[in-house]
Amino acid sequence: MAERGCYDRTMALQTAVARRQFLGRQMTGPGVLALAGLLTDTASAGARENSAVNVASATGLPGLPHLIARAKRVIWLTQAGAPSQLDLFDYKPQLRERFNTDLPNSVRGEQRLTGMTAGQQRFPVCPSVFRFGQHGAGGMWLSELLPHTAKIADQICLIRTLHTEAINHDPAMTLLQTGHQLAGRPSLGAWLSYGLGSENANLPAFVVMISRPSGPTNAQPLHERMWGSGFLSPRYQGVRFSPGKDPVLYLSDPPGIIRQRRRGMLDDVAALNRLHGEADADPEIAARLEQYEMAFRMQRSVPELTDLSSESAAVFQAYGPESQKPGSFAANCILARRLVERGVRFVQLYHRGWDQHGSLPSGIRSQCYDTDQPSAALVRDLQQRGLLDETLVIWGGEFGRTVYSQGTLTATDYGRDHHPRCYSIWLAGGGIRGGTVWGETDDFSWNVVRDPVHVHDLNATVLQLLGIQHTALTYRFQGRDYRLTDVHGTMVQGVLA
């Protein structure tokens, strides 16, 4: 009974509660108990939605977390365009001897190729031009492109066997973010903000930032829906922070409206709304009053948050030369730390420009210049501030790149096409076993040899670290109970501390 049409019903209930809290009216009668019953009814998706927002925003859904949470917050350093695992993380020294030989058909198998290289005459094997070295106590192999990441080798867990089905950017990124290749499902951040709620009443639970590469790279277009809430209420979608005058859309008052004038106007709006609501029990009236107040508070809390002037010189030094440039990946990494300090649940940074179909060696250098130092600095910074234990940091993209060269292969130059069968990402922080490498690929970094991790497995693991059973965080839409991991997903125990 409670499952049916619960969305609309609980929307009304939720605003009813807000209104009563706001107007301070007494709640009496059977409705109160009914409400209490609904709010503890974990079978009701809508009731959960209800309590996540206004009733219990600090604690999220009733019954959540299901398990002991190893992490409370997530920073996802999304590398859009697909960084080459072969040049960064997945060391294949044997390839040197196979330079410019054909990728054996036995390895290539049935894997479909993108329209960009499917017509190529040859698939010449292309070893990385970059040197690799061993780092940290466990001797993790990392490319010379990542000198700073190398210094946090003992903090990170490198997964070399992540895989996906999609071979084009949009479907692959959509799958990575929402657990499904087709648009329309909620992103991980939306699921978390729905399930766990917010810890800060003045900031959104899910914040997104997109940085511009410093080099002349081809930035992958993104899509607002990638941080969207799909069929969940739009209130759970990511709020994009951008550099410049309005870190949040429409944040600044118009010219000529100073703060005190805005306050006076809002007081007038509130007084008129209250008058209108005197003889009207519509709970939306009070709910709107509360949203206007939160908007006013955000106008103070967001600029304070995005103003980096209080950061010390040592911080900028640690995050590197780009960190003083607003909108850079480095500056956004500092902001990410400031956001988690304030209890923001999910921070998603996008860094674009990894799609190196040609001139990979120069392109990837530039990308690593942008990301290596700040990413490592962020992990260390969180650690120094005692936040790393409860913050999960994830670094990676939507798929990997091929061992064969796209276009002409020379001794110093090559390109790589999209490769879904295996690629590398790293995790650090809350609940992660640092200094470990998980999974093994074949000599060509083409197939997984041991311990594959599907995107669904990664998402199941992330949810578990946050104390959520991935099979139990569901939402009924069009008659079906949906979840982030669809009907898949297995925990990757080996990466846990």
Binding site: M1, E3, G31, M116, A183, P234, Y250, I257, G479
Partner: protein, 854 residues
């Protein structure tokens, strides 16, 4: 816990959904939801997922002995029914549903199942698959309230719940409601006064006269060209209309001619069956008109992937699937997506059914990928060019010139041939003329004719032609005309349409929905659980469309009247408007829904007739003010004991502000426009170059109705998104209605709103009397239509005086505020007053009542 459960029962007993202990068990109401939610995933229609060979969604199979001789359901015999034994089992290996599914049954559900089996385990077909029958309209004693049949259904329900209808809404509020619902724009205060006067006059003659007034005003709104715009907004959501292709590249497409077709179709009140047929299959009608071809753009609205590496076959499958699922959602109210990969787990649709529908849409002459290499603004075929009359006559003229030139060139060729010998002689006549020739030509000419090779002869002819002045002029003209024709073609607007392949593609079931894994071949057919297509219908899109709107179809009429009801009442009678399946909600007033569905077909699918019926009902005309008591008893207004109330959707919020301020440009149709936009947004999210930069429009483009705002799928207009517009990537039949702080920031700070407030302030100062009170009253009425109460006016006036003092002290701040927006204010207006009134106007535009349609 038990105590709470009892109270929940009490509370919901007002909703009409509750299980009334004394009532007989109804399979549809009481049992199917339990079985569907808890059992069907493993014991339902999906044969592949079925466990233990047990199927519970059909009585025959559920009551049959299994291989072990046990009966899942023994009608009338609880003790012999394994279903009952298993749901009560304490053994985790035996209990059903299995604990790992997290679908445990409550005690109440278990006892319902027991009662149902004890009473004989009767099944019923799912309600929405039984064709609607015109229910007898209830006769309620002492009914002086009902105005239409709708009211009598609702009143009977209210009486049974000991509820009474609310008082009628005040005329000004009712007219604002009607106007916003039917044309998406507010009325003017003068119209509200006239309406109010007419109602007062009519009241003296009785309720029928009042009805006549209301209906006359409704018809007046139907005649407005803005009616079509308002109706189109929801249809555009359903049809997933956008101005770009979507996916990663997301370049522009041209389909706005289809959007304009929709507006026009609503404006001429095209019967819904024709509306359906032309959009799904206009190209298959005999001698289709241009408009009927444009209408088929409906199923080209899906996204189109232009990314470099896409595999065409994969995306052809996506587009067909999108068409199947969109068609099923809009006309059948069914979510078919599940059946793309396997038989549906809840509803009676098989994978075979899915690909049977898929085959109808699989024959489109399309490529599967975008036209990335082509110039920007080139649609992916098939498309229809839509030249303006000027472009048509220009093309004709150019083609005519081309024909003439060709003739002239032919004549020249004849002449040159005739002159050839003479020409040759002239060339060799003197050393001078010979020296002017290219060396190789001179050498050939000096050879005896018999020694010249065919290549030599051609070389001479070529040179003769190339040096002929008349011919050169003609050739140059020809090239320039061809260039003009190409340019003209590129300038000509086009629109995406449907077009069948001469040789249909073969359709196969795609195993697990994967494009490259073809299973059994299927032919076009409609789902087996629905009435079959008439034998005289062709098995193509046209036959499908005619089948959807055949009078005996159980779903289409119900689904569409439900969407119309949702438009006027904020929610459908079936609240899950896109899902009339077993997991969707049951209708709140099933008899009313069926009565409306039958009436819709009887009226000849007359949309305006249905809207008139609904909007002139006493139910609709009630006040939406809610008492504490009613709010507690029926928080969602399922019983309709008060008028509907909801926040305006994004388009009409902005349109209302533009209308009140006088900024609105009322031009209908045309290419999309680009109003104010936060700077740098595209640059952040998209690649930020070419079509990915937003160039704000100028002049009237800033003030067109929001339906014309350029819709980029990857970055829809942010203000629209903030107010719950969908991305338009897939069919959407109802939007959320959130209430968030980001919305407040938008209404307070977006230049759209600040400028509207400034222009509204200008109207207040210049159109009303000299005193602030009458100016504020004027503004109040322009926005809210009703008269302000004295207390409201006092508050507004105090605010105005306060801000006026501030701006007098800080005139520079007043100047700054008045610079927001592209229009200039009337210069004669005093700056401090105008700035202060702008703040007051902003106050009005931000009121809860303003953003709500009460």
């Amino acid at each position: 816990m038990q105590f709470i459960a009892v109270c929940v029962g009490l509370f919901w007993s007002t909703t009409g959904h509750s299980l009334r202990a004394q009532q007989a068990i109804s399979f549809n109401r009481d049992i199917r939801p339990i079985l569907s939610n808890h059992c069907f995933a493993c014991h339902g229609p999906d044969a592949a997922a079925r466990k233990g060979g047990l199927r519970l969604d059909q009585r025959d199979s559920a009551t049959q002995a299994s291989e072990s001789g046990l009966l899942a359901i023994a009608p009338g015999q609880i003790g012999s029914s394994q279903l009952i034994t298993r749901i009560h089992s304490v053994d985790p290996d035996l209990v059903m549903p299995p604990p790992e599914t997290s679908r445990a049954l409550s005690d109440a559900q278990k006892s319902l199942l027991e009662r149902w089996i004890a009473e004989g385990a009767q099944y019923q077909p799912h309600w929405s698959l039984v064709p609607p029958q015109a229910a007898t309209v209830p006769i309620v004693a002492d009914d002086r309230w009902s105005r239409t049949e709708i009211d009598r259904f609702v009143l009977a329900g209210l009486r049974s719940q000991q509820l009474s209808p609310a008082a009628p809404a005040a005329p000004s509020i009712l007219l604002r409601r009607l106007s916003l619902d039917l044309i998406g724009l507010p009325p003017t205060p003068a119209e509200a006064d006239a309406f109010s006067r007419e109602l007062q006059e009519a009241a003296k003659q009785g309720a029928a006269a009042e009805d006549a007034v209301v209906k006359r005003w409704i018809d007046h709104l139907f005649k407005s060209p803005h009616y079509g715009e308002r109706m189109a907004v929801d249809w555009l959501d359903a049809a997933r209309y956008a101005d770009t292709n979507g996916y990663q590249v997301d370049r522009d497409r041209e389909l706005w001619a289809w959007r304009d077709w929709v507006i026009a179709a609503f404006n001429r009140n095209q019967p819904f069956d024709q509306f359906t047929i032309e959009q799904l299959a206009g190209d298959l009608l005999p001698n289709p008109t241009q408009a009927q071809l444009i209408a088929t753009g409906f199923h080209r609205n899906h996204m189109l992937n232009e990314e470099g590496g896409v595999i065409p076959e994969e995306f052809l499958a996506e587009y067909c699937a999108d068409r199947v699922e969109t068609t099923a959602a809009i006309w059948l109210g069914q979510t078919l997506t599940c059946a793309r990969c396997h038989d549906h787990k809840y509803d009676a649709f098989t994978q075979q059914d899915y690909y049977g529908l898929y085959a109808f849409f699989h024959n489109v002459n399309e490529q599967g990928i975008g036209n990335y290499g082509a110039p920007i603004r080139r649609n992916a075929p098939p498309f229809l060019p839509l030249p303006t009359p000027e472009q048509t006559s220009r093309r004709k003229e150019l083609e005519h010139q081309l024909v003439q030139l060709t003739q002239k060139l032919q004549a020249v060729a004849v002449r040159l041939q005739a002159e050839q010998l003479q020409w040759e002689q002239q060339q060799v006549a003197s050393a001078d003329s010979l020296a002017k020739l290219p060396g190789d030509v001179a050498a050939i000419l000096l050879k005896p004719a018999a020694d010249r090779s065919p290549a030599d002869k051609q070389r001479i002819v070529d040179h003769q032609q190339a040096t002929d002045m008349e011919r050169k002029t003609l050739v140059d003209s020809e090239a320039s005309i061809k260039k003009s024709l190409t340019e003209l073609e590129q300038q000509t607007m086009t629109t995406l349409i449907m077009e069948e392949l001469p040789q249909p593609r073969e359709t196969a079931i795609l195993i697990r929905g994967q494009y490259a894994k073809r299973g059994a071949v299927v032919t076009a057919n409609t789902p087996a659980s629905l009435p079959a297509m008439a034998t005289d219908l062709p098995k193509n899109r046209l036959g499908l469309a005619r089948w959807l709107v055949s009078p005996e179809h159980p779903l289409t009429s119900r689904v569409i009247v439900n969407i119309l009801w949702q438009q006027l009442f904020g929610h459908g009678l079936v609240r899950t408007s896109e899902d009339f399946g077993v997991q969707g909600e049951a209708p709140d007033h099933p008899e009313l829904l069926d009565w409306l569905a039958v009436e819709f077909v009887r009226s000849g699918w007359d949309v305006q007739h249905m809207l008139r019926l609904m909007a002139s009902s006493a139910v609709y005309r009630q006040s939406s003010v809610v008492s504490d008591q009613l709010q507690q008893r029926d928080p969602e207004n399922r019983q309709l004991a008060r008028g509907p109330r909801f926040r305006l959707q994004s388009e009409f919020l902005r349109d209302q502000a533009l209308a009140a301020s006088g900024l609105l440009v009322r031009k209908i149709g045309g290419p999309p426009v680009k109003p104010y936009h936060p700077p740098g947004l595209y640059e952040q999210v998209t690649a930020g170059s070419g079509t990915n930069s937003y160039v704000e429009g100028k002049g009237e483009d800033l003030y067109r109705r929001s339906i014309y705002t350029y819709w980029k799928r990857s970055v829809p207009h942010p203000a629209m998104l903030l107010f719950d517009s969908p991305f338009r990537e897939a069919c959407t039949l109802r939007r959320s209605r959130t209430n968030t702080p980001l919305q407040a920031l938008n209404l307070l700070n977006d230049p759209t709103w600040v400028e509207a407030a400034r222009l509204l302030a200008g109207r207040m100062l210049s159109e009303a009397g000299p005193d602030a009170a009458s100016q504020l009253r004027h503004g109040f009425r322009l926005v809210l239509i009703r008269e302000p109460e004295a207390r409201e006016l006092t508050l507004l006036q105090a605010g105005y005086e306060r801000v006026l003092q501030e701006f007098r002290a800080e005139p520079a701040q007043a100047d700054e505020l008045l610079k927001v927006g592209a229009t200039r204010s009337v210069e004669s207006l005093p700056v401090a007053e105008l700035a202060a009134m702008t703040v007051s106007a902003g106050t009005l535009l931000n009121l809860h009542e303003t953003v709500t349609r009460e």
